[in-house]
Symmetry: C2
Amino acid sequence: MAGPLPVSPLAVPLPALPPIAGVRLGAASAGIRYQGRTDLMMAELAPGTTVAGVFTQNRCPGAPVDWDRAALKGGKARALVVNAGNANVFTGKAGEHTVTATAEAAAALTGCKAREVFLASTGVIGEILPHERLTAALPALHASLGEDGWEAAARGIMTTDTFPKAATREAVIGGETVRITGIAKGSGMIAPDMATMLCFVFTDAKIPAAVLQAMLGKSVETSFNRTTVDSDTSTSDTVLLFATGQAKHKRIAAGDTAKLRDFALKLSEVLLDLALQVVRDGEGARKFIRIDVTGATSTRSAKRIAMAVANSPLVKTAVAGEDANWGRIVMAVGKAGEPADRDLLSIAIGGTWMARDGAVVEGYDEAPVVAHMKGQEIEIAIDLGLGKGRATAWTCDLTHGYIDINGSYRS
Amino acid sequence: MAGPLPVSPLAVPLPALPPIAGVRLGAASAGIRYQGRTDLMMAELAPGTTVAGVFTQNRCPGAPVDWDRAALKGGKARALVVNAGNANVFTGKAGEHTVTATAEAAAALTGCKAREVFLASTGVIGEILPHERLTAALPALHASLGEDGWEAAARGIMTTDTFPKAATREAVIGGETVRITGIAKGSGMIAPDMATMLCFVFTDAKIPAAVLQAMLGKSVETSFNRTTVDSDTSTSDTVLLFATGQAKHKRIAAGDTAKLRDFALKLSEVLLDLALQVVRDGEGARKFIRIDVTGATSTRSAKRIAMAVANSPLVKTAVAGEDANWGRIVMAVGKAGEPADRDLLSIAIGGTWMARDGAVVEGYDEAPVVAHMKGQEIEIAIDLGLGKGRATAWTCDLTHGYIDINGSYRS
């Protein structure tokens, strides 16, 4: 692209992000690909920090994903290093060398083992990531880390993103308040299969890695895994959750999930908030689309139907054109390959049921539907009339902006 | 759209289409949706004509698809009636009434049973198709049918198509020459799962319906089922193959497939020719893309990988932008969910291997690749290095034209 992309009309403001005990972070310019902006982010984590992670199901993952999968076995983390502009994917031995050298450099600065350093890279695929630029920039970046570096960190990991993404919640564990804050990036190549592009969540809670991992997997399933921009699953999708253990609540015994109910709820809220911010920054997005499926034979079936609608180019272009084309929704429901009975199917847009029991609702009031389609937040409801399965998916419209960004920018 | 769409730059001329003994056809204007063009096609078939068909796997099929599935059980056909502009999908009881009334009207004109009439409709989903307009136009159309009505028929079934599509071959059965001619339509909502939008093939060969059905199923699998425009599987996909039995060769005994070897080959050629014409008329298409996958663990796996690449919006926009972005091809291979080893994967564009064994080919000659990307016919080769599975898929690029057509035209 010539010049920066305009900010998404669906952008939301960055929330206030208070410090989290045990987390110091910041960003710097390493000159990897972009000029005049930060492209290297680092977070240092207090000793004793536990970690959980979920990664892309893409069969051609990037070298940092391989590194993190191995590092995750230790369950402990002391540092996170992320660069933007080069994904270090499909880079063979050179890619492995880059992640090892970067982790070792960060470990030396932090005073920890290399396997306690987590890495992520995002940007162009298939170009060698020159680790010298990363390792050269790390000492000054490390020296500058602070507990107020959240916005800098959120900006430092952006690629085609047009706004920085963060979310924060407080949760109560055993009477003590802990904080959960996450940052994310992502705009295109978004059809997370276990995670999104990049998302990092931090908490001062004191939770064993295994418990953390179980909660993360569950929350990702109903947040990132229910969103799509373009059906293309990235090679770099990574969600990492770090728990510094600096909070005052008592240690959580294995199996004591009742104490974590509020935490799990707030964690899910943070992840969903971030996932929807990624959708709001979908490449070329002008409208935000929510798809509620009910009456399916199972939750799994409802999810597949919701995602088939969310991934349909014909539904997404119809929304872009402000056309309440429910016929295309019927098509997308039918192509999902899930149980569906055409003659029981009902479809609503903006709360107006336009199709019921296999045919158009005669004389339905089109005016509120037309008005709804002109808005920025589009709601599609689909009832299968078969069972109790329900699921919600989120996506954005497909516009000329997507073609512009991806037909002319090697991202 | 205001005004007609410009003809696809990938269009091919209509071939000369000689008569087929036992087939008389033509088209008329029934005023269903379009003005100033034909929108109703009819073919009358000689007594004794056998028929085979494959239909959409979409779970919300149109009323004509339901009708044809039932009619196919008889194995005999005397007439085909097709309208453009309204798909008669998701129209409930009214839709069933329309197909019954249309079939009965055509049967009365032809002098056959209603269940020997085959029907297809294409166009907008969810609007009642007024059968009175069809039945009012049928008598004059029937009176005008002729053995030279091929071009009229091919044009009469178009919707967002920008050129008529036909293919013809001669085949030899038992020393006698027979002819196979097919017409097709399709441009958007193209991701056939058992068939394409609409395709009708006629032959004067004398082949039992069961044998015809087996050959059709096999040919569709390696032609229409290997193409995609936009990953959206239509609710109306229909391929029908009619054999009038007017040719002079001896009747084919069940199991005598050796005699049909040449016929099966030419049938496959006709279907592939038509399938590729549909891709060439893909909505907004500027470039035709062929994807050859080799070295997969199985044919099925190779097909899935080829289709994942063919359906990737990021690969398709990169081709539109003339960017040899093989990193996006890596992503699409990886997201297919099929066995793939990143470190064995090789990718070529236009015959130049750019990536081999999990990394970029150092110093490969970029000039021929750049020149190839500027052309209209793009060739992508992917070798998995795992086994002997191979498959080819075909698609087109994703351009502003697709957004224009589908964001502003209720098709």
